[in-house]
């Protein structure tokens, strides 16, 4: 029940954010102490600043801080970037050092 309620709320949130929010809604799941995750945060921040300007919303989630959320999202590999919007949902794994690849998936070009 709680789970369902949460999902509905999340969906609502998403819809409102789509309506008048930023174009890019991103979630980055990391494990704070691992080098790959630290690099991913750094790389993603750079990408967002350079290419997405202010038209994005980024959530950085530590899987150990929010294990339930990570489990719901079926996280197995970290770091993982989930592009919630624009649709369709896409996932990129890795430390995001391959910027060309990230942009290819992110901006759909």
């Amino acid at each position: 029940m709680v789970e369902q309620k949460r999902r509905i709320e999340e969906g609502d949130q998403l819809l409102t954010s789509i309506a008048d929010g930023p174009k890019y809604i991103l979630r980055l799941f990391v494990s704070g102490i691992l080098m790959n995750s630290i690099r991913a945060i750094r790389n993603l921040n750079q990408i967002c600043e350079l290419y997405l300007k202010d038209d994005f919303k980024l959530e950085i989630i530590d899987i150990y801080q929010q294990p339930e959320l990570a489990t719901d999202e079926q996280i197995i590999v970290v770091p993982i970037l989930i592009i919630k919007h624009p649709f369709p949902e896409r996932r990129i794994i890795g430390d995001l050092s391959d910027i060309e690849k990230v942009l290819e998936v992110l901006i759909l070009r």
Partner: protein
């Protein structure tokens, strides 16, 4: 199942975790290596999921070790439903926090790769899950899902880290994989999963699927090296417990009557040894089943439990047929002393049969087991395998001290054309042969003991008849023309009578001849006597004559001497004078 004392001994070592899977703990000498990961390899559909789930469920229920199941392929609902088929109430176990199942969906959507990553998500979820139920056992089913779409180089290091991590967590883990042994070796996974590697295999032989299990490696522990057949039925996984060493049997000198009084006489006068294996072989219609039923009838009469496995006749047919020879087994079935199990060997193959029988034995605990006929089981599959399997089965029976009687449609002739048949007899303690003796357009039954270990058995061939009062052995009849049975026995009797008469006549004639000879001899003797007496007479006359002559001579000489003496003295006198 394992006995309490054995279990205590195993847990004392604290190196293994019992799986509770039928037969598995026996072949692994106590289960899976405790607090270590084990790799369970095998193709799709050979029972990895069921086996690993049983490992968890038995752990949780029997050994108070809660477990975590990480499923990469089936959802939680699917697993719960699937386990119902082997009578496991998964929902209850989940509710009681004995089992925690989590479904891991890998490759949920298109996943791109941009740089290096690690499996920390899996680690986090595992740790979380272990904490939830305080798990001591973990299953990952199957690891292969991880390999799809992920970088092999990264995965190798990460899987290595996972195994190390599982060890450090102090959980006994089972990781399934469809990859085969060669792959394990090639990718270098072996180095860190080498604690224990088990492979499952299912192949189709003669349209029957056969499942096999093999322990490839178990570090720091003895284990069987054979392929072990196993099956999955309503009771879950059963592995044919192939003993890694000779059955450790508590030998007794107790004897069990064969149920045929005269036949006991051929076996030292006491019957079979308790706990021994007996083979009755002979061609069709020689009375093998009747001999087998005689044994089981006797057993039940003495309040011992018997299990009869019929592969040729249905149980009702068997009951009826046996009543016709005066053996009414129905009351024993009713009282629960006798259990009949009948099935068609074409439905399952040998190991499945043996496993089914073994499960019945574990439950029913019979003292006598009859497999009639064991040769029907052998039409399925390859001979050397069957021999091995039967040998293991015989060992199992011996370990339970069950007296087992096998009937087999093999004869000394068939062994010549199919030498592997002889292998069966090698595992038997007692080998009894029944055979038809066809003579003068008549068929009679003969029985003899070909071997019987540890007893001074008879070496005679005996004729037997199946009467409405059971089996009877006929008195032995040996003649210079061989063993005789039936009407030819009567003929022989007449023939011998004739011979005897002829012989008596011969003697009479001879006697007569001798009588005549005696007369002649006596005549001759008297003749010789007369001759002899005549000669004796002549001799005595001659002697008399000689004596007379001698006398005359003597007197004559005396006179002459005297005369001479007188002459001499006169001569002397004249000489003296002349001087």
């Amino acid at each position: 199942m394992i006995s309490d004392s054995k279990m205590a001994a195993i847990t004392a070592k604290l190196t293994k975790a019992l799986t509770g899977i039928k037969g598995f703990d026996e072949i692994t000498d106590g289960g899976l290596p405790r607090n270590r990961p084990t790799l369970l390899c095998g193709n799709t559909g050979c029972g990895k999921t069921v086996m690993s789930m049983e490992f968890l469920v038995h752990g949780a229920v029997q050994f108070s070790e809660p477990g975590v199941f990480f499923s990469f392929e089936e959802t939680v609902d699917e697993l719960v439903t699937n386990m119902e088929s082997i009578h496991i109430d998964m929902e209850k176990l989940i509710r009681e926090k004995k089992i925690y199942i989590e479904y891991l969906e890998s490759g949920k959507s298109q996943v791109a790769q941009a740089g290096r990553y690690d499996l920390e998500g899996l680690f986090m979820r595992l740790q979380n899950a272990i904490q939830k139920v305080d798990a001591k056992r973990v299953v990952l089913d199957s690891m292969d899902a991880l390999f799809y779409g992920l970088d092999k180089e990264i995965l190798r290091t990460e899987v290595k880290r996972l195994f190390k991590w599982l060890k450090e967590k102090g959980v006994t883990s089972l990781i399934t994989s469809e990859i085969n042994e060669q792959f394990v070796t090639k990718t270098g996974l072996e180095q860190f999963v080498a604690d224990c590697v088990i492979t499952l295999d299912s192949r189709v032989i003669d349209q029957t699927t056969t499942r096999r299990l093999r322990i490839v490696k178990m570090r720091g522990s003895g284990h069987g090296i054979n392929e072990y057949p196993f099956m999955i039925d309503g009771a879950g996984v059963s592995i044919l417990p192939v003993m890694s060493q000779m059955a450790n049997q508590n030998l007794t000198n107790n004897r069990i009557s064969s149920g045929i009084k005269d036949f006991d006489g051929m076996l030292d006068g006491k019957g079979y040894f308790e706990g021994s294996s007996i083979l009755i072989s002979g061609s069709a219609g020689t009375g093998k089943t009747s001999i087998a039923i005689s044994l089981i009838n006797e057993t039940c009469k003495n309040n011992m439990k018997g299990l009869y496995c019929a592969f040729e006749e249905s149980t009702s047919q068997l009951t009826r047929n046996m009543r016709s020879i005066g053996l009414d087994i129905q009351p024993y079935i009713a009282s629960g002393l006798l259990k009949l199990y009948s099935s068609r060997p074409t439905i399952q193959n040998l190991e499945l049969h043996l496993i089914s029988i073994q499960n019945i034995i574990e439950e029913f605990k019979p003292q006598i087991l009859i497999l009639d006929p064991v040769t029907n089981l052998m039409s399925e599959g390859i001979n050397s395998e069957i021999r091995q399997m039967l040998a293991h089965f015989v060992d199992f029976l011996k370990s339970k001290n069950i007296t087992t009687l096998f009937t087999a449609a093999i004869t000394l002739e068939s062994i010549k054309s199919n030498p592997s048949d002889e292998g069966i007899s090698a595992m038997m303690d007692t080998w009894i042969l029944v055979r038809d003796i066809e003579l003068n357009s008549e068929r009679n039954r003969g029985i003899y003991v070909l071997k019987s270990r540890g007893m001074n058995h008879s070496t005679q061939v005996r004729e037997f008849v199946i009467t409405d009062e059971g089996i009877k052995l006929l008195p032995i009849y040996v003649s210079p023309h061989g063993i005789l049975t039936g009407t030819s026995k009567l003929e022989e009797t007449l023939r011998q009578e004739e011979e005897r008469k002829l012989f008596e006549n011969k003697i009479k004639i001879r006697e007569h001849e001798l009588e005549i000879k005696r007369e002649i001899m006596e005549n001759n003797i008297s003749l010789l006597k007369t001759e002899f007496n005549a000669e004796l007479e002549m001799l005595s006359q001659a002697k008399m004559e000689r004596n007379l002559n001698n006398e005359a001579l003597e007197t004559g000489q005396k006179e002459i001497t005297e005369l001479r003496n007188n002459i001499n003295s006169s001569v002397e006198k004249s000489k003296h004078r002349n001087k």
